[in-house]
């Protein structure tokens, strides 16, 4: 249908149009009209990009993995100053380009209606140009064909995201932005070093032409690359910045950062796995990687479960999801190392489906919580409540998004996890040691999934159910449909992806027919079931129950007050999100490190039993307590000692220069 040239033009327009829109938005001050115009331009660019990437994916048959014969779309031929194939699109790029553009479409649609509500907190020109550069950087990263352009685009993306984090210029945002900047530059340093090592210094070489990993230098480079991408994606122990930075950005930008930028980090990792390592990583590297990512998944889910700030909880949930996705990537590598190519292919598909679903539900959740917070004026789940009664449609949509985030049927995330778990569980019988490792993998995965479901139920219950727990929540106004139409579409897409997953896979991976899907059923290793049947039977069961109830029961319910055992109930007496999360906080106290201090002071001189009690409750994080602070102290100590070099004595400096000269002469000659 669409020729290669047409697809190339679409993608190039999608690259450029957001930049144009951003520059246009620079002149608008906080005007609503400019905001709408910028948003529409962004939506147009994103739609064109999604069409181009989608056409590339669906209209051409590619194998499961990149092979040397897979057709590439060369975009660099339109830019004479670039070498050939410096910008190119292949299956992996197209898939992630589709993810980026669909995400950007949804977010720019949302920000048309959301930003005017927050016009007193943000300066729109700042946001528009930062978002434009951010999206430009992401798209360029995905289509880059050489490490140099990749790094250039990566840095643009990271810098632009910094300005989004500090957009409201509050002290907390600046602090979070600082933490983000440090971590992201640390990661970028690792990436530069890593690419330099694996490409043997030739960073202009195409990804396809990089030499295979051999020798200690190349393995070190590979490890540095993995660390760089892990730092961007929020893998333990580089995760602390994520729950600090993502909530501080405006909600539309949080949606972009959490929903899309993290996928670009995943893309980088997969690109490295595919082209640099050719999926043959050394086993110790794989095991270390798996251990870290699985722990991230568990830890992120746990912290999401005990966190009572809505956006921070969603950010921790992103940490968990990235842990899951990275561990799926590690499992692909492990299966290749063990020779199970079929299993590797199945997990690869599960990973890509999870990435798409994650973009949809995470950006949907952040957008919806942005809408929510703009009405309740608080981010604290302990102060919300009662919103399901006031906003039934919105709460239904939020519930659907939470269902997708919790990986429960009929959402697409569940099917991706199902493919993964069935593949891993089927391969357990392959051997004793491997079986042990796979059992541990699947157990940690299941625990993380359980904690994620807990976190999502807690978020929904704290925000929407029961009586409003504060005045703000009690007096919210209406929520216009235009505001939450975009997250609603995201939720619907995520559920639809789950129901029609075999058809989607047939479009993207037609060669997997008969292996991964057949007809309307998903298949893994001999077992199959049809997502369509599942959702139809669920609907049929609900309909059946409803019909039976209508037939047998005809009385209307009577409304009374809540049973209060005789004493009037206030909203202070109901469970809050913090209370709801008390059992996991207790059961996993080694990780959540709760600190409860009860300070009691006697107030009466005569009677020491009359005391005034104060309760202080804080949670620390293990990374901060056991990794960051000791490292910071060590660096401080070393820096203090190095400071003594600056003694101010001229003779010392002259002696230093002399020694350096002598050493250089010795080494050179």
């Amino acid at each position: 249908m669409l020729s290669q040239n047409a697809i190339a033009y679409l993608i190039i327009i999608a690259l450029g149009l957001p930049l144009v829109a951003g520059i246009f938005g620079l002149f608008g001050k906080n005007s609503k009209a400019f905001n709408t115009a910028v948003g529409i331009m962004n939506m147009l660019g994103a739609a064109l990009g999604a069409c181009g990437a989608g056409a590339f994916l669906f209209l051409q048959d590619r194998g499961l993995f990149l092979s040397s014969s897979a057709p590439l779309l060369d975009l660099a031929r339109f830019f004479p100053f670039l070498p050939s194939h410096a910008l190119s699109v292949d299956m992996l790029s197209a898939y992630f380009l589709l993810i980026v553009n669909v995400g950007f479409f949804l977010v720019s649609w949302f920000s048309i209606f959301y930003l005017p509500r927050e016009s007193d907190r943000y300066r729109f020109p700042w946001l528009h140009i930062a978002t434009a550069l951010f999206v430009f950087g992401m798209q360029l990263t995905v289509v880059s064909g050489t490490p140099l352009i990749f790094l250039f685009a990566w840095e643009i993306m990271s810098f632009a995201a910094y300005f989004l984090v500090i957009a409201d210029r509050s002290a907390e945002s600046v602090k979070a932005g600082f933490s983000y900047a440090i971590m992201t530059q640390l990661g970028a340093a690792c990436l530069i070093a890593g690419f330099a090592l694996v490409s043997r210094g030739n960073m202009n070489a195409l990804f396809l032409e990089l030499p295979p990993v051999a020798g200690a230098a190349a393995v070190a480079g590979l490890i540095l690359l993995i660390i760089g991408f892990a730092a961007k994606a929020g893998i333990f122990p580089f995760h602390e910045w994520l729950p600090a930075a993502h909530p501080q950005a405006p909600s539309s930008s949080s949606a972009l950062m959490s929903g899309v930028m993290l996928k670009v980090a995943l893309y980088g990792l997969l690109r490295v796995f595919e082209t640099v390592a050719h999926f043959t990583l050394p086993l110790p590297v794989i095991f270390g990687f798996l251990a870290l990512t699985l722990f991230t998944a568990f830890y992120g889910a746990l912290m999401a479960a005990v966190e009572s700030d809505l956006k921070r909880a969603l950010a921790w949930s992103s940490v968990e999801n990235m842990g899951i996705m990275f561990s799926m990537a590690g499992m692909v590598a492990l299966f290749f190392a063990l020779g199970g190519n079929g299993a590797a292919g199945a997990v690869w598909i599960a990973l890509l489906v999870f990435a798409f679903c994650h973009m949809l539900f995470k950006s949907g959740l952040f957008m919806a919580s942005g809408a929510l917070i703009s009405e309740t004026h608080t981010r604290d789940l302990d102060l919300m409540g009662g919103l399901a009664k006031k906003w039934p449609v919105f709460s239904g949509m939020f519930l659907a998004l939470c269902l997708c985030a919790a990986a429960l049927p009929p959402a697409g995330t569940f099917y991706s996890e199902w493919i993964f778990m069935t593949t891993v569980a089927s391969s357990i019988g392959a051997g004793a040691i491997i079986g042990l490792i796979l059992t541990i993998v699947i157990s940690v995965f299941a625990l993380a999934a359980g904690l994620a479901a807990f976190a999502m139920v807690k978020i929904f219950a704290g925000a929407f159910l029961a009586k409003p727990r504060s005045d703000h929540a009690a007096h919210v106004g209406g929520l216009p449909l235009a505001l939450y139409a975009s997250p609603a579409v995201a939720g619907v897409l995520c559920v639809a992806l789950g129901i029609f997953l075999p058809y989607f896979l047939r479009g993207v991976f037609p060669s997997a027919e008969g292996v991964m899907f057949s007809g309307s059923a998903l298949m893994v290793g001999g077992t199959s079931f049809s997502p369509l049947t599942v959702v139809l039977s669920l609907m049929a069961a609900v309909a059946g129950v409803w019909i039976l109830r209508s037939v047998f029961v005809s009385r209307r319910p009577r409304t009374t007050d809540t049973w209060d055992c005789g004493a009037p109930l206030t909203s202070r007496m109901e469970y809050t999100a913090t209370a709801f999360a008390a059992p996991p906080r207790f059961f996993f106290h080694i990780f959540t490190l709760p600190l409860k201090k009860i300070i009691s002071q006697p107030v009466s001189a005569d009677n020491r039993w009359i005391v005034q009690k104060k309760l202080e409750h804080e949670s620390r994080t293990i990374a901060e307590a056991f990794i960051y602070r000791p490292v910071a102290r060590a660096i401080d100590g070393i820096a203090g000692r190095v400071k003594r070099l600056q003694s101010g004595v001229v003779q010392f400096y002259l002696a230093l220069i002399f020694v350096a000269l002598v050493v250089t002469l010795i080494v050179a000659l």
């Binding site: 399901a388 039934p392 709460s395 199902w418 069935t422 029961a466 069961a541």
Partner: protein, 307 residues
């Protein structure tokens, strides 16, 4: 033919679940030197509830009203997907799907419990969600063990494959897996030692606390869903341990019926015996319970790799 068999199996299970609970209560009464209610009392109780009016809290939203439908639908789907009366092969559901559906049902009930704005509901919800979350890794490892041993991932197929050879000779390590699964069934069915289904003290309730604000037909739906879930899972566990003589698996009709009735009575009696012997555990010690269940399941799976 298969469709007919699974329909009959499901309808039978739907009909017999309250009888199962009635038998458990009767045995418990006998073990406690009492007469106890007649075994068909749960049917009368549900019928009475359907006749009653519903009183709903004014703070409850649509989530409160939707929860019983979701919980009952999930329980019915689990009854369809996990065959207990007949060992039908084709229409049976994937075990991972069943575990996810159980989580969906638990989540729906949890949200219904939170919605009525009572402290008891919140407490029950928090506890129930924790139990559901801790059950997840144990159940997944049990399913992995069963799948690894039998090569199949659906409920009916697993039972049929286990019937082909006596598992206590060929796969003796499955005793650990079955013990872990028994502990999981007790947790999912809200029985001792995880939860007390007959308590009046709200601080000791988990499942009961969430249904305190429901009345009339909604309460009937929730109670029936709980009975159905426990009956299906307990009888399926019995089918795993003694996979012989199940109707439809080549056994003649009379012996199949006798075996089913025997399993029904024995499982009800064992549940009542357990409830009469142990006390309910303190909630904040449940990590020991679930760690034990997980380690049992883990050993079952690891030993299957060695032998």
């Amino acid at each position: 033919m298969n469709m007919l068999i699974s329909t009959v199996s499901t309808v039978l299970m739907l009909a017999l679940a309250p009888l199962f609970i009635g038998c458990v209560r009767k045995f418990k009464a006998w073990l406690g030197n009492r007469r106890g209610a007649p075994v068909i009392t749960p049917y009368r109780s549900l019928a009475t509830l359907l006749r009653k009016e519903m009183t709903i809290s004014e703070h409850a939203s649509w989530v409160f009203r939707a929860a019983p439908y979701v919980v009952l639908s999930v329980a019915v789907l689990v009854a369809i997907f996990v065959p207990t009366v007949f060992a039908s092969g084709s229409a049976t559901g994937n075990l991972f799907l069943v575990s996810a559906l159980l989580m969906v049902g638990a989540g729906a009930l949890v949200m219904g419990g939170m919605d009525a704005a009572s402290a008891f509901g919140g407490m029950g919800s928090s506890r129930e969600m924790t139990i559901a979350m801790l059950t997840e890794p144990c159940l997944i490892v049990v399913i992995a063990a069963l799948g690894s041993v039998t090569g199949l991932w659906n409920a009916g197929g697993v039972v049929q494959t286990l019937a082909s050879a006596p598992w206590w000779f060929v796969h003796p390590f499955l005793v650990f897996t079955f013990a872990a699964f028994a502990m999981i069934v007790l947790a999912e069915g809200a029985r001792y030692p995880v939860d007390n289904p007959t308590t009046h003290l709200e601080l000791t309730m988990v499942h009961e606390a969430m249904v305190l604000e429901y009345s009339g037909p909604y309460l009937a739906m929730l109670e029936y869903a709980s009975m159905l879930k426990f009956a299906v899972l307990a009888l399926w566990a019995a089918n795993l341990v003694v996979p012989y003589g199940i109707l439809g698996a080549g056994a003649p009709l009379l012996s199949g019926v006798v075996v089913f009735v025997a399993k029904f009575i024995v499982v009800a009696f064992l549940t009542a015996l357990l409830e009469s012997m142990v006390a309910k555990m303190r909630f904040y010690r449940l990590q020991e319970y679930f760690t034990t269940a997980y380690l049992l399941a883990f050993f079952g799976l690891i030993l299957s790799l060695i032998f």
